[in-house]
């Protein structure tokens, strides 16, 4: 498999990865690998999850009480953890989402006005 174009990988900041994990888990509990794939597919492969940072991020979320885990057996009877969103995590997701929206809108305003100036 040819290597993915490195330059296209947008490096995800730590906080953003946490947000995406929470969003993904809103759809239902999942294993670690599933979460990573969900993020990649959900963004049409634009966002590549640095797999080394996935598990530390998950544990950070567990530490803050937004994610909980259960031991489960997967399809081939391998032991792995299921991660799911807690009620607090749900609330936090709403908070973070609105923050994210505001930030994106603000940046977009600046970018559009700049673009308008640049065209003149």
């Amino acid at each position: 498999m040819p290597a993915r174009d490195e330059r296209e990988r947008l490096e995800l900041l730590q906080g953003t990865l946490d947000l995406l994990i929470l969003r993904t888990l809103r759809l239902g509990p999942a294993h670690g690998h599933t979460i990573a794939k969900a993020i990649e597919r959900g963004s049409d492969d634009v966002l590549q999850v640095e797999q080394g940072s996935l598990y530390p991020a998950l544990h950070r979320l567990i530490k803050r009480g937004w994610v909980d885990f259960e031991l489960g057996a997967s399809e081939n009877n391998r032991r792995a953890k299921f991660y799911r969103l807690t009620a607090a995590g749900m609330r936090q997701l709403a908070v973070e989402t609105s923050k994210w929206d505001r930030m994106v809108a603000a940046i977009a305003r600046i970018m559009r006005s700049r673009a308008a100036e640049g065209e003149r």
């Binding site: 294993h31 670690g32 953890k81």
Partner: protein
């Protein structure tokens, strides 16, 4: 949280493996071969071990884990080298202990803010009077004080204070308190907020108003059980009622009595360091006015500067405003008590502080040496760790952890030493240094000690580690057979040890001189048999005891006292045995005026026998001698030596001031009461009888034939049996009083000996460290020598040669310095010359021997070097 973390981390390896498996499956689904699929999955995933670490790090603070591991490792490696650990801990402990002790003292005396308010505006007024002779310093005269109070623009209050002893009766145990009479305005200026009640008002001092008193905290807790209702009640001081109007808070002390009046004792019998009560006074009382060389002034005059007024301005006003006696030259000087107290002692204390900082630095240098010596044995371990990829930072942190342990232990040792030192320090008489009662070991002291210890330990370890790195990296990673690595220059290390030895010699010589002087001082007989002489004092209130009642009381008292077990003799005198005479006047010998000074004592019958003063010629006093004609006297040997040298003085006549034409009937031995190095005074003893004039505060002396520990209690029972309102005070053995006069000499002796021993110990450890280090560095060289046939003895000699050379240099330098410096100690030496050859030789020998012993271990270690192993150390 921790449990949650442990649970979450359980099976982390499984989770990661599962992740890789899924990715592998996905890759297979995309068409890769199973092997390729797995490979790609692993690559994409990254290093599982690293990910595990990063994930666990989420749950802990990484550095905390590392620290714990480093400390465990450091502890294990220190346990494997107990000698080194002990030496390092002890050295550091000594340095830290010294610095902490002296710093506490310096802080307590110089830096800590004074415990009373307005310390910068409250000043002591000193009047300097000169009349064709030496300067006399006193306070203001009463008329000066009055005039200044009225006319001053720059001072808001002028007043004075005087020590005031008073009997406190009407409490379960009547006791004699030492308090203060003080101008209310001055007291108010200095006072803190009272715990109960108020301070003193100006109205309190006016004649006709009820007499009031403010109590000190200690007095309130000890004698009134901290009962708040005592405020407003009357208590009985000196048999007169005083209404309590306030209680001062704990720790408030103004002014410090002991510094100003060394002889005063308080209710505990210890030298008083702060008043136990305060009563207001407007007109100076008799005890306030003192006679300094013929000038009558109020001893302790204070003034309060208005805000913003400087010392210079106030001094100028005083000099211009106050009436100055035309025949004298006077000068008013305002002295800030804080500055004054500090001024006398500041240079000495700063010197001490500098000295102990140097001691600490030497201790650190020693520990560094020890660490370097040890490092040279751990070369291989270090090399391996470096080659495995241990970062410099990591190894430095390891070294720091070791330093932390050594520092912590050293700190503990230092704290123990400090506590001992401060405890001893507090047993010294309070007039040696101002504010001594405020010095104690508290949380601040402990923190200071620990911080210094840990900082030193860590600093030293990192320095040693850094030093070792520079050598080891180069040496240990060289593959080819290297030549014997040149040990780092040893000269500075040896120079350091030589300096340690030299300063040790100086200190030891000084201490030895002081100690031997002290021993000589105390072995001189005081001239009378002071053993088993118990004395006490009672004050007979003037209103109740007139002449006849006093003599009846004293007769009854002496009768009852003489039947107590072990009591041989009882004597009542009109004053306590003053150690040393007071005034001296020129006598008239056989009608001719002579020069010089003779003091006198009034002595009742039985005086000489009770005090054990032998009569050399003639007789002592018997009852009735005071009314004999012609009037008689006893003289002491010093007087005979001065005025009738070589002749028998019996029958000759002497006059002194009011005593005219006394016939000498006996010669008593010289009483060197007080210090034997004090001048031997010529004394005249005049017989006296208590019936002649009532004694206000008689002193009773008892001689017992053996130790009688219950005497104090028995005496009180008998006195109170005769009159329950009387207070017994100043009770104790004469020996204790005499010992107390040696207090400062013994203090110097003890402290200088401690310093000397510390210096000796440091020098020994320093030498050991340097030698261990150089032997370790020269292991290969020694191995080579042994391999080519060198005698073991030559090896030992090589090491000893190093050692003794350094020590000899140090000893010589030290002796030279001691020769010059010991002259400074002249003032404190008695019976010893500063250049005593015996002492100097002894000290030199001592250091050479100790040096040899310190060299012993490294020398032996050198002989045990196995040439085969040594040559392989690469």
């Amino acid at each position: 949280m921790k449990r949650r973390g442990t649970k979450a981390l359980e099976g982390l390896a499984d989770d990661l493996r599962d992740h890789i498996e899924r990715q592998t499956e996905e890759n297979i689904a995309r068409g890769m071969t199973p092997a390729e699929a797995r490979r790609q999955a692993c690559i994409a995933f990254g290093n599982p071990a690293l990910i595990e670490e990063d994930t666990s790090a989420v749950w802990t603070w990484r550095w905390l884990e590392d620290l714990r591991r480093d400390l465990a490792y450091a502890w294990r490696s220190l346990r494997r080298a107990p000698a080194f650990a002990a030496a390092a801990v002890l050295t550091l402990g000594i340095g830290v202990g010294a610095v902490t002790s002296v710093s506490s003292i310096v802080y307590g005396v110089l830096l800590r803010p004074l415990s009373y308010a307005n310390a910068d505006r409250l000043v002591r007024v000193v009047q300097i009077m000169r009349l064709n002779g030496p300067e006399h310093r006193g306070g203001l005269r009463p008329e000066q004080m009055a005039s200044w109070s009225v006319n001053s623009r720059l001072m808001s209050a002028i007043g004075y204070y005087a020590p005031q002893p008073a009997m406190l009766t009407g409490v379960p145990t009547p006791v004699r308190l030492m308090g203060a009479t003080i101008t209310p305005a001055i007291f108010r200026a200095a006072a803190a907020t009272p715990v109960e009640g108020r301070t003193l008002d100006d109205a309190d001092a006016l004649a006709g108003n009820t007499q009031v008193v403010v109590l000190a905290y200690r007095t309130w807790t000890k004698f009134f059980a901290s009962d708040p209702s005592v405020v407003g009640r009357s208590i009985s001081l000196n048999y007169k009622p005083y209404r309590v109007v306030g209680i001062m808070p704990e720790g408030f002390a103004f002014p410090s009595v002991a510094v100003l009046y060394p002889g005063m004792t308080d209710s505990t019998g210890a030298p008083a360091d702060s008043p136990e009560f305060w009563i207001p006074a407007e007109r100076p009382t008799k005890t306030a006015i003192s006679d300094t060389g013929g000038f009558t002034t109020i001893g302790n005059t204070f003034a309060l500067l208005r805000p913003g007024v400087t010392l210079e301005q106030a001094t100028a006003e005083a000099n211009t405003l106050l009436p100055v006696q035309p025949s004298h030259r006077m000068q008013i000087e305002l002295v800030n008590p804080r500055v004054e107290q500090a001024r006398a002692t500041r240079p000495l204390l700063l010197l001490f502080e500098g000295a102990v900082v140097i001691v600490l630095l030497i201790a650190c240098a020693n520990v560094t040496n020890l660490l370097l010596a040890r490092a040279s044995y751990r070369q291989r371990e270090l090399a391996i760790r470096l080659s495995l990829g241990a970062g410099r930072g990591r190894l430095a942190r390891q070294a720091a952890a070791e330093g932390l342990l050594v520092g912590g232990a050293g700190g503990a040792v230092g704290i123990a030493a400090t506590m001992g030192a401060i405890a001893w320090f507090r047993t010294l008489p309070p007039y040696l240094l101002p504010r001594m009662h405020e010095i104690h070991v508290d949380g601040g002291t402990l923190t200071f000690a620990l911080v210094v210890a840990v900082a030193s330990g860590v600093g030293v370890s990192i320095a040693a580690a850094g030093w070792t790195f520079r050598r080891e990296v180069a040496v240990s990673l060289r593959n080819a057979t290297s030549t014997a690595s040149t040990p780092p220059s040893r000269a500075p290390l040896h120079a350091l040890v030589a300096i340690e030895v030299g300063s040790g010699v100086v200190l030891f010589a000084g201490a030895a001189l002081l100690l031997s002087s002290f021993v000589r001082l105390t072995s001189v007989k005081p001239g009378f048999d002071a053993r088993h002489v118990f004395s006490f004092q009672v004050t007979l209130p003037p209103g109740e005891y007139d002449g006849p009642r006093t003599s009846i009381f004293l007769r009854q008292l002496t009768t009852r006292l003489s039947v107590l077990p072990h009591v041989e003799r009882v004597m009542a005198a009109d004053s306590p045995l003053a150690l040393g005479i007071g005034w001296a006047w020129p006598p008239t010998i056989d009608g001719r005026t002579a020069s010089g000074g003779v003091g006198y004592r009034t002595a009742p019958a039985g005086y000489f026998e009770t005090l054990g003063i032998p009569i050399r010629i003639g007789r002592s006093f018997a009852a009735g001698d005071e009314s004999a004609t012609p009037r008689i006297a006893v003289v002491n040997e010093a007087l005979v030596r001065t005025y009738w040298p070589g002749a028998n003085p019996l029958g000759h006549h002497i006059s002194l001031e009011d005593w005219k034409d006394l016939e000498v009937v006996g010669v008593a031995a010289d009483v060197r009461a007080g210090r034997p190095d004090a001048h031997e005074d010529a004394e005249l003893f005049v017989p006296i009888n208590p019936n002649s004039s009532p004694w206000r505060s008689p002193s009773i002396f008892l001689r017992t034939d053996a130790a009688a520990p219950t005497l104090g209690r028995d005496v009180r029972t008998i006195v109170n049996g005769l009159d329950p309102t009387l207070v017994v005070y100043h009770d104790g053995l004469l020996e204790t009083d005499i010992q107390r006069t040696y207090a400062d000499a013994s203090a110097y002796g003890v402290s200088s000996t401690t310093f000397a021993l510390v210096a000796l110990g440091l020098a020994a450890i320093g030498l050991y460290g340097v030698l261990a280090f150089t032997v370790g560095a020269r292991t290969r060289e020694i191995g080579v020598r042994v391999a080519i046939g060198a005698n073991r003895r030559r090896i030992v000699w090589m090491v000893l040669h190093d050692a003794l050379g350094t020590v000899a240099v140090g000893v010589v330098a030290g002796l030279v310095a001691a020769w010059y410096l010991s002259r400074l100690l002249q003032n404190w030496m008695y019976g010893v010359t500063p250049h005593d050859p015996g002492i100097l030789a002894g000290v030199a020998m001592l250091f050479l021997v100790v040096g040899g012993l310190a060299a012993y271990v490294p020398a032996r270690r050198a002989t045990r070097v196995d040439p085969v192993i040594a040559l392989r150390t690469d």
